[in-house]
Each structure stands twice: as structure tokens, then as C-alpha cells.
Assembly symmetry: C2
Homo-oligomer: 218 residues x 2
DNA sequence: TCGTGATGTAAGCAATCGCTGACTTGTCGA
DNA sequence: TCGACAAGTCAGCGATTGCTTACATCACGA
């Protein structure tokens, strides 16, 4: 249990409102503190799970006093819910097809890119978070809604129409593609199983592309 | 939290050594007690995760006193390790290709059957357990070894040979198939995301078959 | 019949968890 | 300059956790 406490950079008088200073800030900025907490919490929740991460760990990662978690997010579950909401938002803006609908090939490339960025990237952590559960009904509802929203976006790119029952199988196929993504990211990040954990982006691109095309194209 | 305590059958003088009486037994049989504990523990660990399940829950599910967990398995982690070992054994005997090697179609049908049995079946719980981690090094090593052994078995059926480096990509493809299995089971069982959680076996068979064939056949 | 080891039971300890309340410190407008 | 409020700190509470110890009970051979 490497409790990596920030050694240096803890006492420097950084008063400049740097826009992306998430971990390790210097105080008196509620908004920045909240962001730092969500950022640190999401990392812990995604990698270690809800129960395994303690609020003291999160606070230490963010360089913040523990009591502030309850002040800003009421409870640990409230913080988890905030993580879910932020992930839901980011995932929505990232996966929204901006211009051309039904450009399946382009969407598939995006999916592959998300997967191969694991285990080092930050995006796959968002996906992992969607698999975590706190037992809280609110957070679980957000998670389900996010996942189903993500499914509909992907399915729409593959030709699914909400008003056409004949395209219903596409919805299921899109969700199977998401399940594949989640499974691969899980094996690469959390389980660290080889060879998939050590495979390069180039190694993964071809077989993943075949899977996604088998599910979404045609 | 339905704490299903055994109502009846708890006081009957069942002295017959029934071979499969796992949950709810009547005492004075150490082997049966151990089996009941492993059975109950695996269920909890697979569905709720390691940290979220308490030894008191497991003992209650098995109808056994809490102290027996430490007596028979030393610690909670020891019980988790026993669950991993049992799952590893069962998975090994189940997936071992008995007669004909390289019969890919038959193996694929087995994989599909494993997946569609979720979320009600008991087999998918074994798979879910492989995604759980206790933080214990021993259990994690067993898990990785099991997963990689499973990968090699599946890859061998698809034409992979350990002594032929040219078939190395097949190994990765087999593991991607396993990742897909795990992802789908996760979404069906733990996350309960629709439509995949409510899809019938018939709905899943076709797209899953396409995915597995894209990865393993050819 | 009785004693001995195996099996099961009950109570509680030490550690850790999330969380709270009282307090201090910094910031900023009047 | 100073008061008022937000932001952050600190110590500790009640509850729960895994685990241990001492005790009770059953099976079984001499």
C-alpha cells in the first residue's frame, strides 16, 4: 500500500489560478478543491472500487483535509455520485457525433482509440468507473442511464432508429460492443492479464476493428 | 439486503451424507462446512466484490458460525484464495477440450452458453470472480494464472501453438474473446444494463457467435 | 461408560471506517 | 482597519470490520 504523499510542491505559494491544477493545490479556492477531490476520487474509485477506497486516501491524494469531502459532497456516496455525473458529462460530449451521423467507421476508430489508451490513459478510467457500484440507488441509476445513453448514441451511428422496431437488434449489438470495450479495459487495467495487458495499440487495432465491424457494420 | 436465513430444514436430523448439500447443512461435518463456506463466499465475492462482502454475511449465508471461517481458512483472504482455487479447478475441467482439438465451432458454442446463462446461472459467477481482486498477492497470482491458462486453452482450439511464434496473434485474439465474455456477463449481472441484461439467449447467440468467429475462426 | 479430540458457539477486542462539531485561518468589502 | 463569512483544520465519536479467545457440545474408541 504505497501511500504516496506529495513530498515537494506542497508549500510553494502558488496563488496563480492555474486552470488545470487538479491534484496538489494551495488552498482557499472551493471550486478548485471540489475539482481536485472529484479527480482524485474518480481515479481511486475506478481502479480500486468503491468500498476499497477510503475518504482519507482521496483527501490525501487531493492534498485536502478529509472533512471537506463531507462539507462539499455531504457523504462518500455523494462524492461517488459527483464522479458519476462528471464522467457521464464528459462521456457525453466526447462521444457525441458532431456533424455526420451514421459514419460507422469513424466511430469505430474512436472506440478503438479509447480502449488502446488503457491502462495509462485517463479516459479508460471513466469507463471503469461505470462498472463500479457503491450500492447507492442514485449513483446506480446515473450509471445505468449513462450506459444506456452511450449505447443509444453508438447504435444511432450504426443505423438504429428509436421509432423503427426493426432496428432494435442494432441496439443490442451496440451494447455488446460496449461490453467488449469494458472487458478489454478491465483486463488491461485492473486485472493486468497478459498478453492483452502488454499488447500495443497496433496489436489491438486489427482484431478490435473486426469485432466492432462484425457488430456494427452491415 | 435480503438476509435469507434458512427457515425450515434447519432442525431436521439429517445425518445422511448427501453429496451436494452446500448451503444450509446440519453440523458436525467439517468438509461439508468448508464447501458451504466456499460456495456462499464465491457468490458474495463475485456479485458484491471482496471488500463489500463481510465474513458475517458469508457465515450467515452458509448457516455457519463466523469463527469457522478463520478456523478453516485462516483469514478472509484465505477464503477468497480458496474460492479462486476452486473456480480455477472447475473452469479447467469445464473448458478442457476432451477429445477433438481445434474444433472451434464447438468451443464457441460453449462460450456462448456460458454467457447466456447469466445472470441467473452459477457458471457466470465463476467468471465474475476472476475480475474481483482482494489486493492479496497470492489470490491475484492465482487469478492471473487461471485467466492466462484459460486463454491458452481457448487459443489452442483456434490453432495456436506454443512453439510457433507465427500463431502468437491467436493468443491475443482468444483473450479478446474472453474479455468480451467478461464484459457481457458484467453488464448482465452486476450492472444490469438494458437491453443486454434482459436479452434472451436467442437474441445473444447470433451477434456473440459473429464476434467469436471473427476473433477465433479463420 | 468415560475421556479425548474434533466441531461448533458466544462474546469481545483492536483497528479502521465514515462522519461530525468546534475551532482556526485566510479573504475581502465597507 | 476591522468585522463577517467562507475555507480549511483538528480531534474524536459511534459503528462496523476481521479476527481471537475461552467455552460448550458432539462423535467415537478403549
Amino acid at each position: 500500500m504505497s501511500n504516496e504523499t506529495p513530498t515537494s510542491t506542497a508549500t510553494l505559494p502558488d496563488t496563480t489560478p492555474h486552470p488545470d491544477d487538479d491534484l496538489i493545490r494551495s488552498g482557499r479556492d472551493a471550486a478548485a478543491t471540489r475539482r481536485a477531490l472529484v479527480r482524485a476520487a474518480r481515479r481511486r474509485f475506478a481502479t480500486d472500487g468503491y468500498r476499497a477506497t477510503t475518504v482519507r486516501q482521496i483527501a490525501a491524494d487531493a492534498g485536502v483535509n478529509v472533512a471537506l469531502i463531507n462539507r462539499y459532497f455531504v457523504s462518500k456516496e455523494g462524492l461517488f455520485e459527483a464522479c458519476m455525473l462528471r464522467t457521464s458529462d464528459e462521456l457525453d460530449t466526447q462521444t457525441r457525433t458532431p456533424h455526420r451521423p451514421s459514419d460507422v467507421a469513424e466511430v469505430i476508430d474512436k472506440l478503438i482509440e479509447h480502449v488502446v489508451n488503457s491502462p495509462d490513459g485517463d479516459d479508460p478510467l471513466q469507463l471503469l468507473l461505470l462498472l463500479r457500484s457503491s450500492g447507492d440507488e442514485n449513483a446506480d441509476r446515473i450509471r445505468r442511464r449513462t450506459m444506456e445513453h452511450f449505447t443509444r448514441q453508438l447504435a444511432a451511428a450504426a443505423g438504429w432508429r428509436a421509432d423503427d422496431p426493426q432496428t432494435a437488434p442494432i441496439l443490442l449489438r451496440a451494447q455488446l460492443a460496449i461490453a467488449t470495450m469494458l472487458g478489454v479495459v478491465m483486463l488491461r487495467t485492473s486485472a493486468a492479464v497478459h498478453p492483452v495487458a502488454s499488447a500495443s495499440a497496433h496489436d489491438l487495432a486489427e482484431p478490435l476493428g473486426q469485432v466492432f465491424r462484425a457488430l456494427l457494420a452491415g
